[in-house]
Amino acid sequence: DGHAKTITIATVNNGDMVRMQGYTDTFTEKTGIAVEWVTLEENTLRQRVTTDITTKGGQFDIMTIGMYETPIWGANGWLVALDDLSAEYDVDDILPAMAGGLSHDGTLYAAPFYGESSMIMYRTDLMEKAGLEMPDAPTWEFIAEAAAAMTDRDNEINGICLRGKAGWGEGGAFITAMSNSFGARWFDMEWNAQFDTEAWANTLNFYKSMMDASGPAGYATNGFNENLSLFNQGKCGMWIDATVAASFVTGDDSTVADSVGFALAPDTGLGKRSNWLWAWALAIPAGTQQQAEAKQFIEWATSKDYIELVAAKEGWANVPPGARISLYENPEYQKVPFAKMTLDSILSADPANSTVEPSPYVGIQFAAIPEFAGIATEVSQEFSAAYAGQQTVEEALAKAQAITNEAMEAAGYK
C-alpha cells in the first residue's frame, strides 16, 4: 500500500530516549519512514527484548540495548553487523571505549546513542561549609571523611548518596565498579566466585559503614532515580553516579543546579578507579524485515546531526553525551561544566582490563557473560539486605559466593 514503511523500536524510558522520541517526526519527514515506539522501564525492557531475540520473535526492528548485551548477542549472530554505515556517519568518530564495548570480534553491533561513565557530583557550597576541598581524583578515604563532615541530619542533608538498590544494573553495578578499586573481582581465571576474598569484604564493609554514617535513610532501596531526586532536592552532599546525571543536577528541575562540582570517581590507590562504562545503544535484530530502514534510523539517531539538532533546540547541556569524539572537540560543548569530567571519566575506564588482579571477563560493572545479569541481581539482593541491616556483610558475601558458584555450575562453567 501507499503507506510509508514503519519500524518498531523498543527503548528505555530515560530522559534522552524520551527526548529522541520527540524528534521522531523530523526523521519521518526526512525519510518517510514511520516509527513506532515501545517505551519500557529498564528492567522490563531488558526482559522483553531478551525474550524476543532469543526466541526470534521479531517484534522489534531496533532494540535499545547496552554494553552488556551487545557483545553476547553479537557473538550469537543475533544482531545485524553495523559495518556498512555511511561515510557521512563517520563511525570512527565514536569514542573508542564505546565502540569497543559495543563490538564483538572487532565488528560494531550497536551504535551508541549515549555513553556514560560514573563520577562524583558534589555540592560545592556544602564542601566549602565543611572546610574541605575536593581533589580532581579523590580517594575513598577522603570521600568517607568528607561525607561525614557534610552530614547534617537536622537539615536533612546526607553527606553521600549512593546506589544500594537491588538489581544488577542498579546497586549491583555500583558496588562492582567500586569493588574494582578495592582490588576485588567477580571471578578468578577458573571462573570461581571471589566473594570469599578480603577485597570484597573490604569493599562492602567500607560502603556500609560510610553509608550508615552519612547516607540517607533507606539507602538500601535507592537507585539512580531516588538519588537524583534526593540530590536535586538538596539532600545529598555527594553523589557518585552516571555522568549523564550531570545534566539533570544542573538542569531546571534541580534546586542546587548552581552549586554542583564534579570529580573523578574515587580509588584506593590500587590502580583502578571505581568508575564504570556504559552505553545505551541501538541495535538491529538479525531477523528484521526492515534492515535498511532500521539502519537509516540508527544513522540518524546517533549522528552528529542529531546532536546538533538537540543542541539547537534545547541547548548543549541536553545533547546525548559520551558517544562521539567530535562532541568533546566542539568548543560550544566544552563550555558545558561537566563535559570535561565526563570525558575524563570515560577515558579512564577500561572494560577489557577492569580489575586489579586478572579476570577472565570483559566489563567493568558487569562481566559480559550471559549468566551475569541473573547472578548479579541475586547477589545484589543479598547485598541490599546487608545494607538494610537484615544480615551481616559476612552472611551476604557467603550467600553471594554460594549463589554465584551454583549458577556457574548450572551454566556449565564447572
Binding site: 533507606g218 539532600k235 551454583e406
Partner: protein, 288 residues
C-alpha cells in the same frame, strides 16, 4: 430435566470450554515438562540436550528454593488473614444502616479497579518512599524517624499493598453473605441470651464460612501468582522472592529455561497441593 437428549446436548455444550481449557493447560504444561529435562540456555545457543533430573535437583537444592516457598506461603497467608479479618469487620460495618451506603461502598470497592502495577507504583513512590513518601511525612510529623518500608519491612509492606488491592473483594463477598444472614436467627440468639460477641462467634461466623471459603479460594488462586507488585517494589530483594518470582529470575534474568521450567513444575505441584487442600474445604462448604 434429565432426558437423554438434554444430557447429550449438555456434553456437547460443555465441550468447547473443556477442550479449550484442556489445551490451554496441557500444551504449555507439556512443553514446560519437556524443557525441564533439557539444558536450555537461550543465550548459549538454546537447547543443549537432555539432562535428566539435573534441573529439578538443582532447583530444589538451590539456597533460594525453600525461602521462596516460605515467602510464597507467608504472603498468601498474610494477605488472606488480613483481608478476611478486615473484610469481616468492614462488611459488618457496611451492613449497618447508614447514610450514603452506596457512596461508601464505591470508596471501599475502588482499589479493586487499580492495576497491580499502578497500585505498586503508587504505594512504593508516593507512600512508602522513605524521603518523599506520605508515610515519611507522617512519621516526621509525629517526630519519628521515617521507616524504609520496602527494605526494613519489605514483607509487611508487600502484604499490605496486596491486601489493599484485595480487601474490596473480600469485603464485598462477605457483605453479601452478611446480608443473606437470616435476621431471625440473630434475634433468636438474642432471645436466647447471647450477647453481641457470642452472637458473632456462634451465629455470624459459622454463617460466613461459605463466603470465607470462596474468598480464600479465589484469592489464593490470584495470590499464588502475584508478580507485578514484587517486580515493581522490591524486585525480589529483602526476602520477598516468591516461588513464581524465583522462576521468573531463572527464566528471564538468568535465561536458564530448563532450570526455570523445572521450577515451574515445582510451582505447579505446590499450587496443586494448595488447590487440593482448598478444594477439599471448598467442596465441603459448597455442598451444604
Amino acid at each position: 430435566m434429565a432426558t437423554k437428549a438434554s444430557r447429550s446436548a449438555a456434553r456437547l455444550m460443555m465441550a468447547p470450554a473443556v477442550v479449550l481449557l484442556l489445551g490451554w493447560m496441557l500444551v504449555p504444561l507439556l512443553m514446560t515438562l519437556w524443557f525441564s529435562f533439557r539444558t536450555y540456555l537461550p543465550l548459549r545457543g538454546g537447547d543443549q540436550g537432555w539432562t535428566g533430573f539435573d534441573n529439578y535437583v538443582r532447583f530444589v537444592t538451590s539456597s533460594a528454593f525453600w525461602p521462596a516457598v516460605q515467602t510464597t506461603l507467608v504472603i498468601v497467608l498474610g494477605v488472606l488473614i488480613i483481608t478476611v479479618v478486615l473484610g469481616i469487620l468492614i462488611a459488618m460495618l457496611l451492613d449497618q444502616p447508614m447514610w450514603g451506603q452506596g457512596a461508601v461502598r464505591i470508596l471501599v470497592i475502588a482499589p479493586f479497579f487499580v492495576m497491580p502495577t499502578v497500585s505498586a507504583l503508587v504505594w512504593k513512590n508516593m507512600f512508602m518512599d522513605p524521603v518523599n513518601g506520605l508515610f515519611a511525612h507522617l512519621w516526621r510529623f509525629f517526630g519519628a524517624e521515617p521507616v524504609s518500608w520496602l527494605s526494613d519491612a519489605a514483607m509487611p509492606s508487600l502484604i499490605m499493598i496486596v491486601s489493599w488491592q484485595w480487601l474490596p473483594f473480600a469485603t464485598l463477598i462477605l457483605l453479601t453473605a452478611f446480608q443473606s444472614l437470616d435476621s431471625e436467627q440473630l434475634e433468636a440468639a438474642e432471645m436466647d441470651g447471647a450477647p453481641f460477641i457470642k452472637r458473632f462467634f456462634y451465629i455470624v461466623l459459622p454463617h460466613l464460612s461459605r463466603a470465607i471459603t470462596i474468598v480464600i479460594l479465589i484469592q489464593t488462586i490470584f495470590l499464588l501468582a502475584i508478580f507485578a507488585e514484587i517486580f515493581v517494589t522490591t524486585g525480589g530483594a529483602f526476602g520477598t522472592r516468591t516461588l513464581s518470582y524465583l522462576i521468573f529470575q531463572r527464566v528471564l534474568e538468568s535465561q536458564n529455561i530448563g532450570l526455570g521450567s523445572a521450577g515451574g513444575v515445582y510451582a505447579i505441584i505446590l499450587a496443586n497441593i494448595v488447590a487440593i487442600f482448598l478444594m477439599r474445604i471448598v467442596g465441603k462448604n459448597l455442598d451444604n
